[in-house]
Symmetry: C3
Subunit: 145 residues, 3 copies
Amino acid sequence: MLKKAVRSVTSHTEYLTMNTETRYAIIDITEHVERVRAKASLREGFVLVSAMHITASVFVNDHESGLWSDIMTWLERLAPAGKDYRHHLTGEDNADAHLKRMILEHQVMIPVTDGKLDLGPWERVHYGEFDGQRPKRVLLKAVGI
Amino acid sequence: MLKKAVRSVTSHTEYLTMNTETRYAIIDITEHVERVRAKASLREGFVLVSAMHITASVFVNDHESGLWSDIMTWLERLAPAGKDYRHHLTGEDNADAHLKRMILEHQVMIPVTDGKLDLGPWERVHYGEFDGQRPKRVLLKAVGI
Amino acid sequence: MLKKAVRSVTSHTEYLTMNTETRYAIIDITEHVERVRAKASLREGFVLVSAMHITASVFVNDHESGLWSDIMTWLERLAPAGKDYRHHLTGEDNADAHLKRMILEHQVMIPVTDGKLDLGPWERVHYGEFDGQRPKRVLLKAVGI
């Protein structure tokens, strides 16, 4: 009886390693979010999806390659590469990636309801890479009931 | 005794349907967040407020119509409508809405402390619509103790 | 036996008061996030770090002063101060701060795994101030197991 009354809290964490072929890339990672939810047997709660590197994003938008291209063109206009950034005095050349990642989000909380990712019809979780061609991690953490 | 020692975890989810009269709109939805918190009897935790459509935002800012107007003018400058977006090759005309929604946030986690929304003096939760005049949903999910 | 089976849910909230010497400032507050995690004895879960004032940000990026300078220069380009904003008709002069805070994030969820902040190698939590020189609060809320 008591066991039924008290709902058990669960937590499960995984790390996804991304290594894109190009410096800039957008990749749909929704299937990994569902995989982590399932492993956690999560019925109610959230999956946090968070870029662990500060030159990458995690965001929710449409799975449509034309839009992905528009997003990259637009980010380049708002935060262009190759400018005279002070961050480059450290020897880095990726200040634009630090800025681009902030226009988008660096993390999202995906709601889980009745054992399913509770997403709208077109919502897909994406990884945005702005300084790739090397391994970088994404944290997926399911917490709830 | 044991029931007192173990604090019960609760979860409650609702969906708000927005249908704005204009294509672009900003609407204060804070009262709905408090309603969902109350229904969940949430004392400690979070209410996730998340736009389920990818051409809308949820963000926290001032309830002030002059600022709302400034936000819309500014978003139009940074992500103008009617340009030659590749997304429009699919037949859509709303690429600007996909971009505008990303400058703002698409979701927020509203903290709940001692049974109240734990907001600063001017913090209000807003829905930002960039492709309206049709029903679109916002998820409100209260999780905690 | 039962007590072991049911993991106890915990919640702990603190408020950090920021009062910057300059109107615009970026400050690393990661140590405060860890302090709140430790006080909550949190092993698994999240620490929400959220600016309670609508002219400030909380974001995750590199602890590098050149980059901080780049961020401020860039925000000023995208959302300049001193323009003819409608918000200023209320007597305020800080519309740019309301906009700048939205390009960055206003809150982050810091994951906690095995009793530690689960951050990538360069991830640091920052407070971004765009209308300072007066006391403003940041909420830190640890929730989990």
